[in-house]
Subunit: 226 residues, 2 copies
């Protein structure tokens, strides 16, 4: 890619200002939730890696101690799935605003105000399914979590390094599909460590109820908050 | 999402100008390749849906009649996979330019000039793995193809409608994983038709060599070119 127009540099300048404004709001959110003792977890992944399913399992375990902010371009399908389990969920749809491919801290702030954070243990954000853009926008979480399903292929950490680098925990999902042998778990783990040596990695299969105890253990320890 | 800052509207204005400039270059590419009789196919999908694998299978069938422009934020892994099969491939890495989440027509134009289009039957672009942003940027293809693997879930067309709406063909991949029963093919097809009734749908499994004949048949007919 050797060709870059002037317009491109204008876009980059505007983006830098946007990111700076975003980071200030994100820091404010992080501090204010820490004061209230609310652990804020931001889930990122490709579309269909299992973010909503992981939150559903967490809701079954932790019940009313959690609330969720759902990010989607369109539909309220995920918020509806969670509301069925009695979890208060706030849906952000970016569709009417140009189909934004990520969530920004300012929108999270509004959602937090509307949901209310009293008597709460964990706030989840389910970011828009996208391995690129959400990683560029700090939403103010204490813990960024990257989900990747075994079917996505071992090379993804190398191809989308930023999403793995801003995350302290990587959850490998759909482990029940691994025995199909098209995928190498060892290589996937190796590639995660290559782009982010400090990243913790756990393996889960919501369908087989495997590995979820490690996930609940991490939530109990609240890394980044305590 | 009720909160929008002034900065946001600036970003949207710049984006509108960028998109207009992009569309003009895309039209130019489409016409110039039509004149040369080169069929230009743009593959879009989430990360890990099987774009490179589909191109590999196509290369095995069509040999030197194809060339490929590979889009990735980082790495030349996909271009290397294709070069192993003797396919001329040009890698665009958006990483050095802020990790852009899509390909733009201007970059495609440069790649086309460098690859050379003489004595060629089909030019493929493998877009960046992302169901959101690539759909917003016309790259000048005669046919946009959306790949979705059965493991991504049936709700994706509803949640990422634009990518399905700009595509005339949807390829459902990894059909070998369907018998695992977590997914409903009928619902996925229904949701594709809901957001784009005119979209043709085929089902493939590269691992089992299933459905590829339909894919080759479509390539032979060159929809959008002839």
């Amino acid at each position: 890619m050797r060709y870059k127009k002037t317009m491109e540099s204008i876009k980059i300048n505007v983006m830098q200002k946007l990111l700076k404004a975003n980071d200030a709001i994100a820091d404010e959110i992080r501090k204010s939730l820490k004061k209230k003792g609310v652990f804020f977890v931001n889930l990122m992944s490709s579309p269909g890696s299992g973010k909503t399913t992981l939150i559903e399992e967490t809701a079954r375990k932790l019940g009313k101690k959690i609330k969720v902010i759902e990010g989607d371009i369109q539909t309220t399908l995920d918020a509806e799935r969670l509301q069925k389990l009695g979890v208060p969920a706030y849906q952000i749809n970016t569709g009417p605003f140009g189909g934004d491919c990520h969530l920004e801290a300012a929108w999270i702030k509004t959602a937090i105000d509307e949901l209310g954070m009293d008597d709460l243990e964990i706030l989840f954000v389910e970011n828009i399914g996208n391995l690129v853009c959400p990683a560029e926008f700090d939403v103010g979480a204490h813990l960024n979590v990257l989900l990747i399903s075994v079917t996505e292929g071992e090379d993804k950490p190398l191809k989308y390094p930023l999403a793995f680098q801003v995350s302290k925990l990587c959850v490998i999902t759909k482990m029940d599909l691994l025995p199909l042998k098209h995928y190498s778990l060892a290589k996937l783990r190796q590639n995660i460590k290559k782009v982010n040596p400090a990243c913790a990695v756990i393996e889960v299969s919501a369908h087989d109820n495997v590995g979820l105890e490690s996930w609940f253990e991490i939530l109990k320890h609240k890394p980044g908050l305590l």
